[in-house]
Symmetry: C2
Subunit: 82 residues, 2 copies
């Protein structure tokens, strides 16, 4: 079994209203000195088999076809995450 973590983040320059809302909320809570917050998504995936190279191909296909909107988002795949 292969464990992987996929992290999907907004590309630089894409507006992130969720992040802006979090910045405002942190200020309201009295947590100061926050420069910026950008929110993204994480997916912890387990795959059958032990073929790490094949797993990378399948994980990239998942990201391209479903998990990331590659027009506005970047994705990173880490295999054998803890």
């Amino acid at each position: 079994m292969i464990k992987a973590r996929i992290i999907v983040t907004l590309k630089t320059g894409v507006l992130d209203p969720q992040g802006k809302a979090i910045e405002a909320a942190l200020g309201n809570l009295g947590i100061d000195g926050v420069g910026s917050v950008r929110q993204g998504k994480v997916f912890d995936v387990t795959l059958d088999g032990d073929d790490a190279a094949g797993a990378k191909t399948r994980l990239d296909a998942m990201c391209e076809q479903l998990l990331a909107n590659t027009v506005i988002e970047n994705y990173a795949v880490e295999i054998d995450h803890g």
Copy 2:
């Protein structure tokens, strides 16, 4: 300036309907051999100043008070994330 990444994931045993929906969608796309998918959130935060110890305290406070629901979610803080 300190950069940090916060990763919020569901605790083991907490149902994840989003993850289940992704598993089904991957099967429909013809990507087989997926054991399980669990979805979480990632926050990329920049903090003013260079005090790493103080930053850890502030980041933990953010998680406890706003970013994570510690009843059902775990969080991990990585400081000086690239």
